[in-house]
């Protein structure tokens, strides 16, 4: 064991750091999906497309800013701008034009409507950005790397993945917890999540809350994509990949759990990146295996509350 660790310790360290950065990204997407489900009662399959479009938009805006001669640090403005634009435009558009028509309908139909949206958005994304990989890592490069001490060794790791990604995720987590529990708007959202009819009876404008929540969730997905964009090259299909992963995170945590989503994102992120280093063939399988294992033991998810079945 000691010798194995000496040989593989560095890899484990790298896997942990990677996993942390990865978990941060997955959390951003999953938490938005979770909030949207809480209020709308719809699992939004197109959520992954919003992630992808956020990523592409961030890369494009970043490249545009760079072409103006702005310093690479301006790339960070691009990330935020992309998230705000995608969330602010596509969010209300989707909610108002499409989702609003299917509230309260059969779950199957709701799922399929968002699947249709996913198909449409995938092609929109291909039409705008093409199928060639796009790479824009200026924000990551701008911050350079940090030497992380690990035992006797040091691991050089990008500051962006080490500080920015987990930092934003933590800020989102804390901000959301504060927002939902301490502000009026947040409490209204929680009220609608818990009991829509009772909330409406007390004078809450559920339509407004729904619109707000969906827009916010869309912006979180886009922000996740924007944050991911410097770390990877963008290709068609990242939306499809992301959505299933965030499903896994949300289902593992239990629907409607925000802190829980953070923990399961961490489990899945770390699990995956450890697999990347130890058994690369099974890298992609690990998140799903974790999810299936958790649901086998706790059908409502790790932190989900058991809902009594309707009689």
């Amino acid at each position: 064991m000691g010798q194995w660790f000496a040989e593989n310790g560095l890899l484990i360290g790298l896997a942990l750091l990677d996993g942390l950065a990865y978990a941060a990204l997955v959390f951003m997407v999953a938490v938005g999906l979770n909030m949207v489900f809480g209020v709308l009662r719809i699992v939004n399959v197109a959520h992954g497309s919003l992630f992808a479009i956020g990523a592409y938009a961030a890369a494009s805006i970043g490249l545009f800013l760079a072409s103006l001669g702005l310093p690479p640090i301006a790339g960070f403005a691009a990330l935020l701008l992309a998230a705000a634009l995608v969330g602010g435009i596509l969010g209300p558009l989707i909610e108002r034009l499409v989702l609003r028509r299917i509230y309260g309908q059969e779950e199957v139909l709701q799922l399929l409507v968002t699947f249709a949206l996913f198909m449409i958005l995938e092609d929109v994304q291909k039409l705008i950005w093409g199928v060639q990989p796009i790479f824009q890592d200026a924000p990551m490069k701008a911050l350079g790397t940090v030497d992380v001490p690990f035992g006797e060794d040091v691991i050089p790791f990008t500051a962006y993945q080490l500080f920015v990604l987990p930092g934003v995720a933590l800020a989102t987590l804390a901000g959301l917890a504060w927002f939902l529990r301490r502000t009026l708007t947040g409490r209204v959202i929680v009220a609608v999540t818990t009991d829509k009819e009772a909330a409406m009876a007390m004078g809450i404008d559920a339509a407004k809350v729904t619109l707000l929540t969906f827009t916010f969730g869309a912006a979180l997905a886009a922000l996740g994509g924007a944050l991911a964009s410097p770390t990877t090259s963008l290709v068609p299909g990242i939306g499809a990949q992301t959505i299933v992963l965030s499903f896994a995170v949300v289902a593992t945590a239990g629907l409607g759990q925000i802190e829980g989503a953070a923990i399961s994102a961490l489990m899945i992120g770390l699990g995956r990146s450890i697999a990347v280093y130890l058994a690369p063939e099974f890298e992609v399988v690990v998140p799903y295996l974790i999810m299936v294992a958790v649901l086998l033991i706790r059908p409502q998810g790790l932190f989900g509350r058991l809902e009594t079945r309707r009689v």
Partner: protein, 327 residues
Amino acid sequence: MSASDRDAPGVAAPRPSMRLPEAGLALAGAAALVLAAWAVPWLKFVLTIALAKGVAVLGILLLLRAGQVSFGHSMFLAVGAYTVAFLAPAVPEALLLLPLGALLGGLLGLVIGLFIVRYRDIFFSMLNLALSMVLYSLLEKLYDLTKGTDGIRVSALTFAGAVPDRETQEWVMFGLALALALGFGLLVRAYLASPMGRALAGIKTRETRLEFMGVSARRVLLFAYVFSAVMGGAAGTLVAMTTRHVTPQLAYWTSSGELVFIAILGGAGSALGPFLGATAFELVRVYAAAAVADAWQMILGGVLLLVILFAPGGLWGMLTSRLRGRA
């Protein structure tokens, strides 16, 4: 398939929606397909795939009756397809591979079904999705075995020992798909009219009532799940034998989404719906891909949205309301 189900088709189900001459429509539809395949030779391929997918969608339809939607059902299709791809070099006989693929699909369905029938609604969908993604990832990553995303070319097949030329083989595949479509269609109809099939609707409305009546909801769902997996496996063998090339994409969650799409497009009201939906889907796909290569998905998505928002009964629903209106 179990022979006991065979005696039911003659007994018309006394449901109002079954008043239409489904059998006549099915035969007319089959004749129209044969005619189309004969008149436009290249359509034969498209229609064979459509029929194969229709068989898989019959399985989706069973689960929809119970109010459950499997967003991972194409994994059974992939099992059937890879069965053909792996075994064709050793056992090139199509008429052996077909039942074998269906059997393996059913076996996987039984293993997964044993625990998945404990879940409902969104968890049922997502667990199916997760498991299909596990299969997808394995097919993609175990390169030595599966050649990864390149996929496997299906080696030459024999049909009852004979090696037909290309034209004949296309007709044979088309005929096989049509025969399976009709056969499984009849079986599904009989099954849905049987007490086991009726109980599926009970899961959708009030599961507790079933349990009070002493019917195990899990067993009812398990039977439907395995049955649908068998049809998925059979459909997969047809797809592999027709396209002669299998890739992990078959198991990807978007392929499963397509199957559910077809089920809703065709309408879940009748065993004919899946075939109506699959034919429409494949034709739209072919023409949309030819007309606007980069936006065929968008067109399909748009069609799906329109169907759900404005014609919730699907094509079958539109057809029946037409026919009823005239009668």
